[in-house]
């Protein structure tokens, strides 16, 4: 099935992972929404990356800088030529977030395990609580790649030029009825609604709910194209903090091969708090 995707090499199946558990050129990285899940059991050999305690800048609202990213990779035994395979809970949303940050710092060999943790567990594959250690590497990161990250200025320009913005939050968040996902505590933004001109394509529509795996390419293409999200355009995706939209970014960029897609990680928790920023409901 993955053969139909534009970049099938960015996706691996659980079977492939099971066959590469002891491959020194492959590093498995678990990245979850629930910060305790890794400790309750993970794929043998996998290391943990927590989006908050590992990937966020300790002071300002931003990601870790290049030297800290290099230090992280060295500590996790990731070399420049290591193939890094991400997986996690909830349809791989935080796995895609981590993938996106690794792409931002120019790591070349990145993959997502299709179906994530849910599929691995459902297939009865092994988990362990043993935390592995690997020999430190001499990792050298590249400079951040601005072509995959949007800041608020980019979003303003996008909006003013009438270029596509994809709001991947739930319909209730998009309409402004809620400022967080249904059933989540409602905080984080002063105002509800969406960025003017944005279309609403909830992130999880890219995933088959039965299996947690990505939908086939033809279905995905139809899903986005019906809203005018086509490969010839420059696209910016956003959600609340940029994690759900990093999954959409992954789908558009790697599964469908759209060349120009950015993730706006400031997302609604920035836009919905910005003084004077236009909002549509």
């Amino acid at each position: 099935m993955s053969g139909e995707y534009a970049h099938p090499e960015a996706l691996v199946e659980t079977e492939w992972v099971a066959e590469h558990l002891n491959d020194p050129k492959v590093r498995l990285v678990e990245s979850n929404e629930d910060p305790l899940l890794y400790e309750t059991g993970h794929i043998p050999g996998a290391v943990k990356v927590d989006w908050f305690t590992t990937l966020q800048h300790p002071l300002r609202r931003d990601f870790i800088e290049k030297p800290q990213f290099e230090e992280l990779c060295r500590r996790l035994g990731i070399a420049n030529d290591t193939t890094v395979v991400f997986y996690g809970d909830k349809n791989n949303w935080f796995a895609c977030y981590a993938f996106w940050l690794f792409a931002y710092y120019g790591h070349e060999h990145l993959k997502i395990m299709n179906g994530g943790r849910t599929k691995w567990v459902a297939e009865g594959r092994p988990l362990t609580t043993e935390v592995p250690t690997y020999p430190p590497t001499d990792y050298k990161a590249k400079d951040p790649d601005p072509s995959i990250r949007a800041f608020r200025e980019d979003v303003f320009r996008q909006m003013e030029r009438g270029l596509p913005l994809v709001d991947v939050r739930s319909p209730q968040e998009y309409s402004g009825e809620l400022i967080h996902m249904p059933n989540y505590p409602q905080e984080g933004a002063q105002r509800g609604g969406h960025i003017p001109g944005a279309v609403n394509i909830p992130w999880a529509q890219a995933v088959n709910p039965e299996t947690s795996t990505f939908k086939p390419a033809a279905e995905l293409r139809q899903l986005y194209e019906q809203y005018g999200i086509t490969p010839d355009k420059e696209i910016i995706a956003y959600c609340r903090i940029g994690e759900r939209s990093s999954l959409t970014w992954f789908v558009l960029r790697y599964l469908l091969g759209y060349p120009h897609v950015k993730n706006y990680d400031g997302s609604w928790t920035e836009w919905g708090n910005l003084v004077n920023a236009p909002i549509e409901k």
Partner: protein, 150 residues
């Protein structure tokens, strides 16, 4: 602050306060593994458990009341260990507490646990949400005591 907490909860809070970051994670996992399922008598009245809509994870709870003291039982999916950990902390910390004791717990009781270094404010909200819900039940039982309520 701890003088306003039921003794068991005060002890849990202090334990967390003494832990380093990685130890806090291990302790939370320990609690998640200790969550007790409801005993048969919690189902005696045949009522469905009460859900906690503030929580992102589907959480429901039952309360047993004996001689004015309460025991809470939570149902949390196994793939949400953080919420299971929260639930177990509340279950053990409020074990046999009176509704009055529960209502005296300050909403920010968990600050000294130092969980901010592990968890975003968003995730800490789960703990506040469970406490708020437990307090609503305590208030209701204070106004209308009965032997078991779900």
């Amino acid at each position: 602050m701890s003088h306003t907490l039921p003794p068991a909860l005060a002890e849990i809070v202090n334990d967390f306060g003494l832990c380093e970051r990685q130890e806090k994670i291990a302790l939370l996992v320990d609690y998640a593994n200790q969550l007790l399922p409801p005993p048969p008598e919690a189902f005696a009245d045949g009522d469905a458990p009460e859900s906690v809509p503030e929580c992102m994870t589907p959480v429901s709870l039952r309360v047993l009341q004996t001689d004015g003291r309460l025991r809470f039982y939570f149902d949390v999916p196994p793939d949400a260990p953080l919420i299971r950990g929260y639930a177990a902390i509340m279950q053990q910390g409020l074990w046999d507490a009176t509704p009055e004791e529960i209502l005296r717990i300050p909403a920010d009781f968990y600050h000294v646990m130092g969980l901010e270094e592990l968890l975003t404010p968003q995730r800490l909200n789960g703990l506040t949400a469970i406490l708020a819900h437990v307090k609503r039940i305590a208030l209701r039982l204070m106004q209308k005591p009965s032997s078991a309520e779900a």
